[in-house]
Subunit: 226 residues, 2 copies
């Protein structure tokens, strides 16, 4: 069973996954997958995910709670003893301390297992390679290799990963989202805070830069004046 | 950080993973990883894992509990509404109903994340392609593809998957294990039962066939006379 019209979208609740969902929605019935993995802003992200479900009305949704990534550790996003870098501390290292080791492989594996069971033929993920944080599991070549693992390791071999934003800049992503009517006010990108976005972590900075370069205003509240 | 002497072994508690651990132990300090995923014989397998830890004395051990594979479903091993086939029902289909969709990709992703954090350079997994159940995620080409995903999707790119049993028959595995002194009496392979092995599920049949062809006696208790 392989339904060409059925797509799983990995929806974190951030800007990139929301725009990815809007792109997937053009041609597919949507199945939304969200993962809580003990990240600092877990509650806020799940709230954003639920708001996006109300907006996009997926035919299926699945929320997976795991604690093992936190147990494994090794990232500022899940280990409270490592600070999330802000401002000039950001991007000093090639791979930032906010990198959660091999995280996207876990998310893809979950999506693939679900796709095999429900018969979805596409897995949309909003990974961004160029204008991004430099995470190794956001590179196009990682997705190409993982696609091959899916082709060889699944029953029917009809499941395809789709990464529509992989070579987009953040400004292009904002423009595409704006064009498709993405409700940016429902999304959440900040790594640190859950009330007002901090405006200075890597994720906030990339998002704000995107809106600025696109000539649009980010509707989210920020602690630090833009 | 990449320690050449440090190897993670995926240890289910079954015959194949125990022999794999014994092979890894020849050249490495061991880190044992076990996953409870809601499978029928979860308690018995964890008991076997703990007994094997006592025997092999790994320098690190990690037990991960997940419930999401059960939530996703699609396999007789995790969905109690699907019977585990026995005797002549076995292997009627190309991929049996005991296949847990893309399961080994989840296990590998966990091992890779852990390897990145602790600096292990090898991941041993006791997958068997030829004399096996026909699961797509037990094929060598799946591991070759997943290796490429690891190379592209991790920080240092020094983590290698090792599948020492991939082209062995069950009889060869029994012989290797016997030669290396594997305590087969501590292991558990049955898909169905936790007291005496059923002797008729796919996993029991393959194991018994292996012992028989190797000319050795399986020390486990079986319900059905061998």
């Amino acid at each position: 069973m392989c339904r060409r019209d059925l797509a799983i979208v990995l929806v974190s609740g951030g800007m990139d996954s929301s725009v990815t969902a809007a792109i997937a929605a053009i041609d597919h019935a949507l199945c939304f997958l969200h993962v809580n993995y003990g990240q600092r802003t877990q509650n806020k992200e799940e709230q954003a995910f639920n708001a996006l479900c109300d907006y996009f009305q997926p035919v299926k949704k699945l929320v997976i709670d795991i604690s093992y990534l936190e147990k494994i550790g090794g990232s500022a996003l899940i280990d409270r003893s490592i600070d999330v870098p802000v401002g000039n501390q950001v991007s000093q290292q090639k791979v930032p301390v906010t990198y959660v080791p091999f995280r996207n492989a876990h998310f893809l594996a979950m999506a693939v297992s679900w796709a095999e069971v429900i018969g979805a033929s596409k897995i949309y993920i909003g990974a961004v390679e160029e204008d991004s944080s430099g995470y190794p599991d956001c590179r196009e070549e990682f997705y190409t290799a993982f696609q091959s693992a899916i082709d060889k390791g699944t029953k029917e071999g009809c499941i395809k990963i789709v990464t529509p934003l992989i070579h987009k800049t953040k400004a292009e992503i904002v423009k595409i989202g704006n064009h498709l009517g993405v409700p940016f006010q429902l999304t959440w990108s900040c790594y640190k805070e859950e009330d007002e976005a901090c405006g200075v972590c890597d994720s906030c900075r990339l998002r704000l830069k995107g809106f600025e370069e696109a000539g649009l205003k980010d509707p989210l509240p920020y602690k630090i004046k833009k």
